[in-house]
């Protein structure tokens, strides 16, 4: 129980980085996967879960006044849920991860919705700021600005608490009572999840027809190199050389 509170505090603190303070990217799933993984005693698997979630929402971003679902919350909660299921209850890794991800997506959506509400609430802080500035000058501005962090912290803390407390209980119940076919199916999704992630990346670069050609060429290069000598190093070297060549060629144009 104690560690759930601490994990929630940590989760809420790092969530501030996502949109409020800094944007140093420490709140990105790839990084929090590592942090929570290390805390729960399984660094590589924490990073692996974070990496998969990072890829899925790689293209999502808050543009201007548009507030998307906060998938970094989804990432953090998924890592903790999965590692708890695997390490404390001995469930299968891939299956647990997919179950945890399925349960955490609503947490991200909820966090995004609450974020919008908070930004409406902040309008009041902004209005108060004028009178505060009249009374206390620049100190008043600092108070009003930093006061915006309070609701954000509280929101993410409560979401983490909800998902790590009753959430873990529910996940254990579900994991224990799943029919074998469902277990098998979830395990399969763990392996084919990168397909969805690659499609997301494809969607980012698909604006330009030239990209399709480049992706196709390197698809064949990768295929040949991997099937034939089977060396990842060789394939990576080829990719790097190719990327440099393409960039040099395109630059003058």
């Amino acid at each position: 129980m104690d560690h759930i509170i601490w994990l929630s505090v940590l989760g809420a603190v790092r969530a501030l980085d996502y949109a409020m303070v800094g944007q140093f990217m420490v709140s990105q799933p790839l990084v929090i996967g590592g942090i929570f993984g290390a805390l729960l005693g399984d660094l590589p698997n924490g990073i692996l879960i974070g990496a998969l979630i990072q890829l899925l929402w790689i293209s999502i971003m808050p543009v201007g006044a548009y507030v998307p679902p906060d998938y970094t919350v989804t990432g953090g909660v998924t890592v903790i849920l999965t590692l708890t299921l695997v390490r404390q209850y001995g469930f299968h890794f891939g299956t647990s991860m997919i179950l945890a991800l399925g349960m955490s997506i609503p947490a991200g959506i909820l966090s995004g919705k609450l974020d919008i509400a908070a930004r409406h609430f902040n309008v009041r802080l902004d209005q108060r700021a004028e009178s505060l500035a009249g009374k206390y000058g620049l100190t008043g501005i600092a108070w009003a600005n930093l006061a915006g962090l309070g609701p954000a912290f509280l929101r993410n803390f409560l979401i983490y608490l909800l998902w790590l407390g009753p959430g873990v209980w529910l996940a254990v119940k579900l994991s224990g009572s799943m029919p074998p076919q469902v277990v098998k199916g979830l395990g399969l999704v763990f392996w084919i999840l990168p397909a969805l992630a690659f499609a997301v990346v494809l969607e980012i670069i698909a604006k330009d027809r030239a990209h399709w050609w480049i992706a196709a060429v390197f698809f064949s290069v990768g295929l040949l190199l991997l099937i034939w000598p089977g060396e990842i190093i060789l394939a990576l070297a080829a990719a790097l050389a190719g990327a440099t060549a393409v960039v040099c060629w395109r630059r003058k144009w």
Binding site: V63, G64, A65, Y66, K207, D208
Partner: protein, 159 residues
């Protein structure tokens, strides 16, 4: 060949992320037109607008009164245009100077004291509302829509 007017948008920040990433991609725009008197006069602003143009697109910056004639310029010929204005008053003026307009998108009008916030990114005053009514009178369909993925909302709900 004539150029097509793909999207006409009011956004007081003119080119910014929602336009450069969201709308350009969805509307498959090929050329940006910024119709704004202050920008056209100011070399720094022109420089900034050129810099902010997404890769692969051309840009034309012109005074509001010339917006209707932009389609006949050489660099615009045959392209799908995304035209940006910064206020409803400007659009009104452009239409009165011969811009043919069927649909108008409202992206962002910033809040300032005395304005009424009608959606998340749009705040208008009585002056703006007057211009919108005038445009409605010219049979222009006016919708508030921040991003292509948002639901469009008809302006008539608010004025």
């Amino acid at each position: 060949m004539t150029s097509q007017l793909g999207l006409v948008r009011i956004d007081d920040r003119l080119i910014h992320g929602q336009v450069a990433i969201g709308w350009v991609k969805t509307m498959k725009s090929q050329h940006l037109v910024v119709a704004n008197d202050a920008v056209a006069e100011d070399p720094m602003q022109v420089c900034l607008m050129e810099m902010a143009t997404p890769p692969g697109l051309g840009i034309t910056i012109c005074p509001v009164a010339e917006a209707g004639l932009v389609g006949s310029r050489e660099e615009v010929n045959g392209k799908r245009i995304l035209m940006l204005f910064s206020s409803p008053g400007d659009v009104c003026r452009a239409v009165e100077n011969g811009l043919f307009l069927k649909e108008l998108n409202i992206g962002g009008l910033r809040y300032s004291p005395g304005k009424k916030q009608i959606t998340k990114a749009v705040a208008i005053d009585e002056h703006d509302a007057e211009h919108f009514r005038k445009l409605l009178g010219y049979k222009v369909k006016i919708q508030i829509q921040m991003l292509p993925t948002d639901e469009p909302v008809d302006i008539r709900k608010y004025i």
